[in-house]
């Protein structure tokens, strides 16, 4: 039904646009839940699940009881679902979409004979062509000779029919689960000492890192949850400067966090997860000094980042801008790599840069003398001006005063300063210091 028609019937109809990504996520979590009924469960289209329950029904007391149990649980969860059990995947698919039910063994053709041919998963054109010659039900097709059917309607129809009736195999291909990087440990007696927790952590880390290695992944964040006997939880989370799966090196980063945990009456369960992981190919270990140096540097960045924050461990990266403040980037070192700095021609740049600080008592252009930071400076030599225009495509509050004329001022007192003047500023040009040369 079109939305306009539906609105014509019911003007108050509440509608929402379909969110395919979330629907797929919900279906995949339902698939995980459905694995309680069978080892092989796969998604079937965008709205279905198919499970291979060979050898399972007797655990639930029979096929009927299994289906009732499934329906009851889904209903309790608020899900409206239809289900069918049959000897082949094709029949189960057809029946589940046309009322559901159970087809006993050996009665496949009778079980779906009354269903329309569209239930056979044939495309629209084939279904229409079948309807035109008067073959509307599956029972009409089942006893027809295969060769003329295949010649007239294509091999697809015959394949689907054979799959439904069991003449062609159609296994349930369950996709592998995405690996879950989490391990847990429950203790018979609560623990409270720091070294006990660290020993438990070491055992969990061994298992987690083995799993990471098996999937060729490395952790970027590792979280340790400690459950206390009074049902409170404490959490310690660390970040790593690069993907890593070395238990000993990760354990040392936890030492400070574990030290600060209040264990209360004791801790009786530990859970270790790696919420953020990245691909990490197997690598040469213990090789030349270059590898050891990289490891040591990454360890330093990790430990410093965990103490002062990863956003405070920085690296300077070049940027393509003539504006002094934007001519380089301060990037977190853990999430960037060093870039070669392009050689730059043109006038010299200062070694330190700071936000512009106004000078007072400036006289002349360039100023013959001025005061800055409560010191009096006399100009010995001035080089410039170098005019830098603002980038009009960025609205930078610092550059609202317009053009800047930069001068390199060598002072009698020694310091070589980077001054600029704002000729377009309202209220007359002002002088500012923005950097200091070597």
């Amino acid at each position: 039904m079109a939305l306009a028609d539906a609105r014509a019937i019911c003007p108050d109809l509440a509608t929402r646009s379909a969110d395919l990504a979330r629907e797929a996520a919900a279906l995949s979590s339902l698939r995980r839940w459905a694995s309680r009924y069978a080892p092989m469960v796969a998604t079937d289209g965008v709205d279905g699940l198919v499970a291979d329950i060979s050898g399972v029904p007797h655990l639930f007391g029979g096929e009927g009881e299994l289906r009732d149990d499934l329906q009851a649980r889904l209903e309790r969860a608020g899900l409206h679902a239809a289900s069918a059990i049959a000897g082949t995947r094709g029949v189960a698919h057809a029946l589940a979409r046309h009322g559901g039910g159970i087809v006993p063994d050996g009665r496949l053709a009778e079980g779906i004979g009354h269903l329309p041919v569209t239930a056979l998963r044939v495309d629209h054109d084939t279904a229409e062509a079948l309807a035109r010659v008067g073959l509307s039900r599956i029972a009409d097709l089942a006893h027809l000779p295969r060769a003329p059917l295949a010649r007239r309607f294509g091999a697809g129809l015959v394949l689907r029919l054979d799959q439904a009736l069991g003449a062609q195999a159609e296994p349930v291909a369950a996709e592998p689960d995405a690996p879950h990087f989490g391990v847990r440990m429950t203790l018979p007696e609560p623990i409270g000492k720091q070294e006990d927790v660290m020993a438990g952590l070491a055992r969990l880390l061994d298992r987690l890192c083995a799993k990471l290695a098996r999937h060729r992944m490395g952790a970027r964040r590792v979280r340790l949850e400690l459950r206390r006997v009074d049902r409170g939880t404490a959490q310690v989370e660390i970040g790593l400067a690069r993907p890593m799966r070395d238990p000993a090196r990760i354990a040392t980063l936890f030492a400070k966090g574990v030290d600060e945990v209040d264990s209360g009456f004791g801790i009786d369960a530990l859970r270790l997860t790696a919420p953020v992981t990245e691909a990490l190919a197997p690598e040469q270990i213990g090789g030349g000094p270059a590898i050891r140096h990289d490891d040591a540097l990454a360890d330093l960045l990790s430990s410093v980042g965990n103490r002062i924050g990863f956003e405070r461990v920085l690296r300077l990266l070049p940027a393509t801008s003539l504006i002094p403040e934007r001519s380089f980037l301060l990037a977190p070192a853990a999430y960037s790599t060093a870039e070669p700095i392009p050689h730059r021609a043109g006038s010299k740049r200062p070694i330190t840069l700071f936000p512009p600080e106004p000078v007072t008592a400036a006289s002349g252009t360039p100023p013959a003398s001025f005061r800055w930071r409560r010191m009096r400076f006399t100009t010995l030599r001035a080089t410039g001006p170098e005019r830098i225009t603002p980038e009009w495509w960025f609205d930078d509050p610092a550059w609202r005063s317009g053009l800047r004329d930069y001068w390199r001022i060598e002072t009698q007192e020694g310091p070589r300063l980077w001054l600029f003047q704002t000729p377009q500023a309202l209220g007359g040009p002002d002088w500012y210091v923005q950097g200091e040369f070597a």
Binding site: L314, K348, L380
Partner: protein, 195 residues
């Protein structure tokens, strides 16, 4: 780009020790030393000071190797210095402590530098150093009489294992080479009071 091989002269900082530099030109002196130390560099400056190294103005080959740590308080800063000094592949750790270094802190840093076989350089305020330092330099930029010269005066005002001295030199801020204005010399006059 590979840094040029480090020359050996009076400005070599003794390896595996922590040194101090004060005065207006201390950042220039630190960058000069950074250019002469091949390998990763760490610059530790408190988050609240406005001065940042400007990438385009640094000596050749320094910007790529530089890591900047910006801890929020003095304790974290000293912790970062000690931690960085203990890591062997780091060649030079430059830090800007804002408060005077205590003898304990200075001694701990020396031990860390020895353990990690790393050199450290503290950019201190005037009289904010610790007695545990190996050498202390007073660095001031000088007014240049000739154009295109950038003279500095770097005075070694404390040296545990050698003589002190004062040098006036031209360093243009791009390479590891310096031009001496007056040659290094032995001290003739009696030393002032030790600091």
């Amino acid at each position: 780009m590979r840094p040029e091989p480090a020359p050996t002269d009076s400005f070599d900082l003794r390896a595996r020790r922590v040194h101090e530099a004060e005065g207006r030109g201390r950042r220039a002196f630190a960058l000069f030393q950074a250019a002469r130390h091949p390998g990763p560099l760490v610059w530790i400056a408190p988050a609240h000071i406005p001065e940042l190294p400007m990438l385009q103005g640094l000596p050749r080959g320094v910007g790529e190797r530089l890591h900047l740590f910006r801890p929020s308080n003095e304790t974290d800063l000293l912790w970062c210095v000690e931690e960085a000094l203990r890591v062997a592949p780091i060649s030079l750790v430059i830090a800007e402590p804002q408060q005077p270094l205590s003898l304990t802190a200075g001694r701990r840093l020396q031990l860390a530098a020895e353990a990690g076989r790393t050199t450290g350089l503290m950019l201190i305020r005037e009289d904010g150093g610790s007695n545990a330092t190996e050498t202390r330099w007073n660095c001031t930029p000088l007014a240049s009489q000739a154009p295109d010269s950038t003279p500095h005066r770097w005075s070694l005002i404390k040296n545990k294992k050698g003589t002190i001295g004062s040098w006036t030199l031209n360093w243009n801020g791009t390479s590891t080479a310096v031009h001496m204005v007056s040659a290094a010399r032995e001290r003739h006059e009696p030393a002032g009071a030790a600091r």
